[in-house]
């Protein structure tokens, strides 16, 4: 038993709550029951319940799948815009040094 309990930042908890709420909303708007959606995603209903509650310890892949199935947009409005956006990020990354050197703590946390 290393870390029995973990703490999450407020923003994280809120973002998770929002994600869960959006999925729940999307599901209901499409008149799907929990059982329906869970079956579609390929997960247990109990897991979907955790997702809609915004539980932090669920696989992000499952959450995203559920989100997509009920029409919650991820990052972009059009799914087709994901690829170009990824390219943009890769381009930016290519311009940066491959290895980060130095800068041992100065994000100001240690003041």
């Amino acid at each position: 038993m290393k870390e029995h309990t973990r703490s999450y930042a407020r923003v994280t908890r809120e973002a998770l709550t929002m994600m869960g709420g959006l999925i729940r909303l999307g599901r209901k708007q499409r008149k799907m029951s929990e059982t329906d959606l869970a079956a579609r995603v390929g997960i247990a209903r109990s897991t979907l319940q955790l997702i809609e509650k915004g539980h932090p310890k669920v696989e992000i892949g499952l959450v995203f799948e559920a989100a997509i199935l009920v029409g919650v947009p991820l990052f972009v409005d059009e799914p087709s815009r994901l690829a170009p956006e990824i390219s943009r990020i890769d381009d930016k990354l290519a311009l940066l040094p491959r290895s980060v050197r130095r800068a041992r703590s100065e994000v100001k946390d240690d003041f």
Copy 2:
């Protein structure tokens, strides 16, 4: 061994890749090493590597924490806008029937 391998929708994989890329980009822009960020988030470096690669099977809470620490916005630009947004969702949910009835598959997947 029930489901050894799981498949994810293309959009899911791309969204995960984008999320990972954004975190990696944010980290480098802030000149943090993998070890630095992992320590800050409170996770192993190996886990952070999976996150930046967009691996689907990581806790969503850990991904969000990492994202926030390097300045990747989640849903909204300002973290302070999360709460109001959650309220809006709750309001919408309150207007919908508590239980979803019927409508067994018609999201068109079964064409």
